[in-house]
């Protein structure tokens, strides 16, 4: 195995592109090192991206926050403006692993690990985050939901890697929430999860909504019907019930030791309802 720590995105991409064997990008390492130790992956090349200028920074730009691919979960949690703007994303990050893991793990790593149970991914999709990809064919951007295509698989091509995530500033009367079910309160993986982001009018009518479920399908699931039914409502009980049902209908989970199909499906409806109410109250209603 070779280890390289390039000083530019172009150099990193060249390394990834020209490697004939298995290569892995290293940022926080909380997934890739575990996979190496357990023999799931035996890389020929590790490309540590942390020395690329700007990749460990959070910058406020015109219209969005740009968060570098190697910014750790705890650095995002410690950012007061971001915590206020997208509490749902931050509470998702706060649920990943221990203090020690949060000191290293990154949102981009969580996304590229492509687990359907990734905590930060539903929350990022709900707030319409985009990723910026360095590519030998020319840099491109896409929505977060276009990255994972199957458990453990991403849409990134050879030589490509994500350099940053853009999170659009949220309009007034907006908020979000993320909830997950786990048997324990800490150090666990989501059995089911739900993220809801809302933008309300000043008198409390929903103008924009996004409902996203985790761990109920091979990839994170955006439930468009559930999002649509919230729009125009004041999140009254009947609307919430309807939204819950759309979430239940959208589930296609597996049964495993952590939960059955029936359990996951049922809990998805409950969590989506609770997350919607929480986002509504956080938006000021």
């Amino acid at each position: 195995m070779r280890y390289v720590s390039p000083l530019s995105a172009e150099e990193a991409s060249n390394h990834l592109f020209s490697e004939n064997g298995v290569s892995r990008v290293l940022a926080g390492g909380t997934d890739v090192l575990v996979q190496m130790k357990s023999g799931i992956v035996e890389p020929d090349l590790i490309v540590d991206i942390k020395k690329i200028p700007g990749i460990r920074e959070i910058v406020a730009l015109d219209g969005f926050y740009r968060i570098g691919a190697a910014v750790s979960g705890s650095e995002i949690k410690d950012h007061e403006d971001i915590s206020r703007m997208i509490p749902g994303v931050v509470e998702a990050l706060d649920l990943i692993g221990s203090t020690q893991i949060q000191g290293r793990c990154t949102m981009v790593g969580n996304l590229c690990n492509a687990s359907p149970a990734a905590d930060s991914v539903p929350a990022l999709i709900a707030v319409e985050a985009k990723v910026n990809i360095f590519s030998p064919e020319g840099n491109r951007s896409c929505n977060v939901e276009e990255i994972p295509i199957a458990p453990g698989k991403t849409s990134l091509k050879k030589g490509e890697f994500i350099v940053s995530i853009d999170i659009p500033y949220r309009p007034k009367f907006s908020s979000d929430s993320y909830l997950r079910f786990t048997p324990r309160t800490e150090m666990d993986i989501a059995v089911v999860s739900a993220a809801v982001a809302l933008t309300m009018s000043k008198d409390g009518v929903c103008e924009k909504a996004k409902v996203v479920l985790g761990a109920v399908a091979p990839t994170v699931k955006v439930v468009h019907e559930a999002s649509r039914v919230l729009i125009g409502s004041r999140l009254d009980q009947n609307t919430i019930k309807e939204m819950s049902q759309f979430c239940i209908d959208a589930c296609s989970p597996i049964s495993d030791k952590r939960g059955t199909v029936e359990f996951r499906t049922d809990v998805a409806g409950v969590l989506a309802a609770r997350a919607a109410k929480k986002a509504y109250s956080r938006a000021g209603f």
Binding site: M1, R2, Y3, S5, L26, G29, T30, L33, V34, M36, K37, S38, I46, D48, K50, S72, S74, G97, S98, T99, Q100, I101, G103, R104, E186, M187
Partner: protein, 157 residues
């Protein structure tokens, strides 16, 4: 396998080492630098026994490559006491009998110190959540939490 040449700073001392590209910082600390206070438990970031700080952040050294320590500032349990004088946390762990077999203790001390540097006056539940990634199979945690709370109190006065 080509060795990587690393210059780093551990507990205030500048030092250099050679390591394999796939060698973890935990293995470097223990096997190359004889800093064996940092323990290996699970090796997968679940137990916290190998906790150190890397550029001020609390991390599991089993999930860091030795090569990543280049130009970093690292602190380990060996840097905690001031010569013979124990850190208040170390003293309180003795006073409260907050350890039995001792394998988890260095990691918990390093983690607790990082907490008190960030938050000198934590609530009990903040301490419990902060230390959720440090497993102890002997004490049942209560004595550990009491020792940390007591050390925090002493360090504030």
């Amino acid at each position: 396998m080509t060795q990587v040449h690393i210059k780093t700073n551990i507990n205030g001392d500048n030092l250099e080492f050679l390591c394999g590209p796939d060698e973890t910082l935990l293995d470097v600390l223990r096997d190359k630098l004889q800093l064996t206070g940092t323990k290996e438990g699970c090796g997968t970031g679940d137990c916290g026994a190998c906790s150190i700080t890397l550029d001020g952040k609390l991390v599991c050294s089993c999930l860091v490559l030795g090569a990543e320590a280049d130009n970093a500032k690292i602190t380990t349990i060996e840097g905690m006491s001031d010569g013979e004088k124990l850190h208040p946390l170390q003293q309180k762990f003795l006073d409260h009998a907050a350890l039995q077999c001792g394998i988890c203790t260095p990691g918990i001390l390093v983690a607790a110190k990082a907490l008190l540097e960030k938050n000198p006056d934590p609530t009990e539940s903040e301490v419990r959540y902060w230390l959720a990634g440090n497993l102890c199979r002997c004490t049942g945690y209560d004595k550990i939490i009491r020792a940390v709370m007591d050390a925090a109190k002493e360090m504030r006065s």
